[in-house]
Amino acid sequence: MAELFRQVSVRERKLYYSREWRVSMVPSFIRETLNLRELGFDHDGNGPSDRKNVFYDPRDLEDYVRLTSPYAIYSSIALYDEPGEMRGWRGAELVFDIDAKDLPLRRCNHEPGRVCPICLEDAKQLAKDTLVVLKEDFGLENVHVIYSGRGYHLRVLDDWVMELDSKAREKVLAYVSAAEDVTFEDLEGKRVMLSSGYFRVFRLRFGYFIERVNENHLVSAGLNKAQIRGVLNNRPKIVEGFVKKGMLTAFPKGVGYGAMLKLFHLSSTYSKAYFDGRVTVDVKRILRLPSSLHSKVGMVATYVGSKESDVERFNPFRSAVPKFRRREVEEAYKEWLEGEGGDGL
């Protein structure tokens, strides 16, 4: 049986880096500042122990990678005056890391810690929602989405964002992940209906939540039988009326403020977990280099684009597969569709 994801061999790594990969595949937002970034390499699958490398010329990076065919390549999200010493911090990209293997509210049935096309599709949905928030609410223009091999990275390079300290990034993260509870006052004062700002982000995340939530979740949230039925039978109406338009009347009869607050709280509890917050708050992190091979899963970290439609169109099983695995992945995908994944997508 062919596999969608699998570890690749040393020989296959060599194949990829000598035949397929060129340094020109590294996105220009990294190539142009390469001399200001720290690069890290994992040569054997035990983590990036070869750190604090600097390449003043992209061709030097190309030579080094061709020569070593590393297990994984990382570059700093920070720019430094002296990247080799990690000194003279000039700023860092703002990063959101969505890992498909850690997502709550899964729609698929395999064991946790693995990914399938459905989890990846969910991660993509979250990446797209996040892109919208970053552009519309924060007015950001220099945002890039990258398929990381097992999820998505959003990387922001607008000047003012590069300068933010960890505390400011925490606040941005709390906003983007709708981590703060909606209160009774927010409901009563109708702030939850606002067409922009925190409450719109909250409703966006709530939409993702309501489309995936099941009976067990709602029982544990403390809803009664009638309320649960009401919510589950009215998902499209809630999405249409509440998520998109902010109308509280979209909730069915019997779901009053009390039940809504329980739902909202549960939604926030989950939406906090869509992102790996440590990545967002850390201003000196290293991140998988786009175009490099994710050797554990046999996929290529791939630049997706900066527009919603780029994300929408992106299919990792078409665009992020190294050539030496094309046939294998194609076959595995077919098998998966015929088997477990048939009705999920």
Binding site: D137, G189, R191, M193, G197, Y198
Partner: protein, 399 residues
């Protein structure tokens, strides 16, 4: 009229004098210390002469105070000078009804928001909102998020965010401005180095005297706030620490005893559980800074040699004992990063620094300095027949 001592017209004036350091050099020739002190000595509300004043005089007076603070850039004085001068400018801002671009705050009209959102934010659909309240809810300003994130202590949920801006009501804008003033004040203060002149030393002393006297009259007799500290009821060991101690005892007396005692006495006299955090008892870090840390710093610097001048890093240790982890500038969220240290028991104190313990009549049967304080507080209220410190005081934690 200058609305922002760090930008606009004020910055121009400083530029004309040849920059900040040059300005500080010429200030002694132009400025009368007694006039400058007036910027700090007012009560209740700044007097008219401070509101409507000549621009140059205003700028020189303000920077004269910063120069004087740079001699000892920490503690009570900094807080006081910052707060009172912020009020002078805020008073003017309220008077003219605009910010003149200070802190990057710009005015907007109602039409800049979708009308339904403006309707919701102003609570126009709701009854029982007075016109004045409504005026305070109206979105009147905006500020770019890059600035907002620097100056706002709260969360992004508190404000209306759209296209890279935070939209603000007037009270919110004033709060942002305060954050801006605080930040710029500290930055400028930190940038001033090596002012040795007699003028600034003299001004510093005058200012210190005034502020200590005032602090004495409010803090030591207490009753300004709901639960002010009653310094007169503190146990002998704490009082000794407050007065400053010799070098061998400094760290224990100040960082351990005083920090823990003041913070629990002020914010959580009867902890309901062992792992209580300061964030459960206060609204903002600022309260802790103003009511505990500044007193600790003051006492530390009354030691010989002054503790925090000697060991600038010790301030991080103070925050550590308050439960914020080893940090210099904590946020409320940091509370819980380390354990909020409970005041040590008397036998611990005697074991560590025997000189601190000089028991008086009330110390009999007492095992912890906090209990001493709570018991005396309780008796005091009983004696006055007041509604009091609450019956829980008697049992207050022997930790």
């Amino acid at each position: 009229m200058i609305l922002d001592p760090f930008g606009g017209r004020a910055a121009e004036i400083i530029e004309e004098f040849g920059g900040l350091m040059k300005t500080l050099m010429i200030i002694p020739d132009y400025v009368d210390p007694d006039e400058v002190i007036k910027r700090v000595s007012w009560e209740d509300k700044p007097p008219d002469e401070l509101i409507d004043m000549n621009d140059i005089e205003d700028v020189l007076g303000f920077y004269a105070l910063l120069g004087a603070l740079s001699i000892k850039p920490y503690g009570f004085e900094v807080e006081e000078v910052m707060k009172r001068n912020a009020e002078i400018y805020l008073h003017r801002i309220r008077l003219v009804g605009r910010f003149d671009g200070a802190a990057g705050i710009e005015a907007v009209g109602r039409e800049d928001l979708p009308s339904r959102d403006a309707f919701i934010l102003e609570r126009r659909g709701l009854r029982g909102v007075t016109p004045e309240e409504r005026e305070n809810l109206r979105i009147a300003y905006r500020i770019h998020l890059s600035d907002f994130l620097k100056f706002w202590e709260g969360s992004l949920k508190d404000v209306y965010v759209r296209s890279g801006y935070a939209y603000l009501s007037k009270p919110q804008a004033l709060e942002v401005w305060r954050g801006y003033f605080r930040r710029r004040f500290s930055e400028v203060l930190r940038s001033i180095e090596g002012l040795e002149s007699e003028f600034y030393k003299g001004l510093n002393e005058k200012m210190g005297e005034l502020i200590r006297k005032r602090a004495g009259s409010t803090l030591y007799t207490g009753s300004v706030k709901a639960q002010p500290l009653r310094f007169d009821l503190f146990p002998p060991c704490v009082r000794m620490a407050l007065e400053g101690v010799p070098s061998g005892m400094r760290n224990y007396a100040i960082t351990v005893l005083l920090t823990s005692f003041l913070s629990y006495a002020r914010f959580c006299p009867n902890p309901s559980r062992k792992d209580v955090r300061l964030r459960d008892c206060v609204q903002s870090v600022r309260e802790v800074e103003e009511e505990v840390v500044s007193v600790v710093i003051d006492a530390g610097n009354r030691c010989s040699p002054p503790l925090f001048e000697d060991q600038p890093n010790e301030i991080k240790n103070v925050w550590y004992h308050l439960g914020f982890g080893f940090t210099e500038k904590p946020s409320l969220d940091d509370s819980g990063s380390s354990v909020w240290y409970f005041p040590p028991n008397c036998d611990k104190i005697r074991a560590n620094v025997p000189q601190l313990c000089n028991p008086d009549e009330f110390c009999r049967g007492i095992r912890n300095p906090l209990t001493y304080y709570l018991r005396r507080l309780f008796r005091e209220k009983q004696r006055q027949g007041g509604d009091g410190a609450g019956t829980g005081a008697e049992g207050g934690g022997d930790g």
